[in-house]
Symmetry: C2
Subunit: 339 residues, 2 copies
Amino acid sequence: MERAKVTSAEVAALAGVSQSAVSRVFTPGASASARTVEKVRKAADKLGYRPNVLARAMVSGRSRIIGLVVAYLDNQFYPVALERLSNALQAEGYHILIFTAPNSTDGVGKVMQDLMAYQVDGIILASVSISSDLTARAKAAGIPVVLFNRGQDDRRLSAVTSANRQGGRLAAEFLLAGGHERIAHIAGWQGASTGRDRQSGFLEGLAAAGRAPMAVIDGMYNRDIASACTQKLLAGGQPPDAIFVGNDHMAFAVLDRLRAEGLIPGQDVSVVGYDDVPLAAWGAYDLTTIRQPVNRMVDTAVSTMLAQIEAPETPPRQIEIAGQLIVRNSARIPQGWTP
Amino acid sequence: MERAKVTSAEVAALAGVSQSAVSRVFTPGASASARTVEKVRKAADKLGYRPNVLARAMVSGRSRIIGLVVAYLDNQFYPVALERLSNALQAEGYHILIFTAPNSTDGVGKVMQDLMAYQVDGIILASVSISSDLTARAKAAGIPVVLFNRGQDDRRLSAVTSANRQGGRLAAEFLLAGGHERIAHIAGWQGASTGRDRQSGFLEGLAAAGRAPMAVIDGMYNRDIASACTQKLLAGGQPPDAIFVGNDHMAFAVLDRLRAEGLIPGQDVSVVGYDDVPLAAWGAYDLTTIRQPVNRMVDTAVSTMLAQIEAPETPPRQIEIAGQLIVRNSARIPQGWTP
DNA sequence: CTGAAAGCGCTTACAG
DNA sequence: CTGAAAGCGCTTACAG
């Protein structure tokens, strides 16, 4: 027989032990005799008892809840990361309380307040930046914060990104090797470190070969803007023969626009994206792109978070994980190219 | 000055009032004089105080947490729903604790246990079914459960779906009007009500015109399987001239496969999907599909959930929301077609 | 309107 | 190993 909201006291009564004994049986590492454990487990099973996580959190100071702030769920990179994140955290006995945030500083501030009110053990900010004011506040409350896919100068914060600068360079080198003459860049949002780093790496890569881009435009990580940018690039007398796009999400819009204009990607115009979301491998896009190793990024974010929860004095870490060029058919493949 | 984990007692001390007074100021509807409110607010702001949601939950019996179980985050329908769900719930002062679940009954059972341990106020199951055993348990614990995008015979459960049967019919009628002769169906997973209902509606639609499908195969809501099914259909001596696919997620794989075989969708073979995820409108796919009104489905799920939380005796509701055919170019458009 | 006190369901020293 | 008791931070009758 199961009843609503069974408490440890009820289990204790049924098992004929004290309430503390019940608690100990459900507390890993606490001492209880085999006999007690058996009696308690039996009674608990019978009543369908499970310790109240909230009550436990009150006294232990650990809620086993991680707050996740996420902004761009329409970019496939984030659902994929979210799924892995949730699984990894669940495996460690944590769960994710989710907050969808407007990317304004204000919005994030409000959300952080909420997060703290829920006594989360840690906060992961995916594709969201944070003011140093908020950083200080989280620090004061003793709540570790990890930035995911966003870097930050502030060394008090942990951050996990891929090597965006190097990735931008890889893109430049690949397009250069392909013999492209007029290379444009539809950049990721310049308000985000990823957008800036990919762009500067790309420009460095071109500069190293004594070259310059024919155009650089901020695509704001927005499909419509990216599409309009493409349109504009094509409208000029001298259209580009290659476009490096700040992320895959925009690159798909660029490919759609090129085709709508009668151009064949990889033949008339080369396109290289960034992320390697699952969609990039699908036949309709077949996008050459720089892969962000999302699984390793997630695992690193989780272990960084856990380390700081378990040992609060653990210093914050800024970790960069190398990316990789994935060659498909949206961009001309240089003769005899070997990765 | 802000300090870690400020409590109502500290605010009370600073404001020169009792702890209860502080609590009342933060409890909507509780009585406090303007003078008290002012003193308390001032002290609270100074200390950066926010009531501890967990402590509040302990005594009030409301955690303001909704558990969400979700399984297929790679199908764009779900991230889109999740985002809307989170926003809608946030607006009502609730937050989502997320659980990614294997779709096995076992997995869901484990997850439900966890969910209850967190004292969630309600559970939303997205694309996940549930045994009547678990239903009973949630009922006993007084936790409302709402099925999202999955129906169930069990009338003790609330469920929100689109009119899948009718949608299947719409697809049949459209393909029939297009004059297709050999119509195949790569069905949604037959273990799910959506898959079954879409299929039976589709078959009904054909039967109403005295027609039968050339083939019906279970695509399991899986891209690889859908792709293989397509392959198999084409291999026969008489390939289909139209395929109705159980959801968009599989339909994209079908389109990719058709093109890989040199066939032009909408010309050589018509393809109709189900869902109308954002991707369906993108140039590369341009998929004719049955739209599930995800926003209305989410809003309905939320209001159903809230109604049951606020008035536990509210009877469960099974709600079906009408879908709509969205005509694009992946399927031949009948002469003089008007929706 | 306001304060003192009980109690939500637990964990964790503290004695034994 | 085990039980009685304190206490986590709140809300909510209960008096005044």
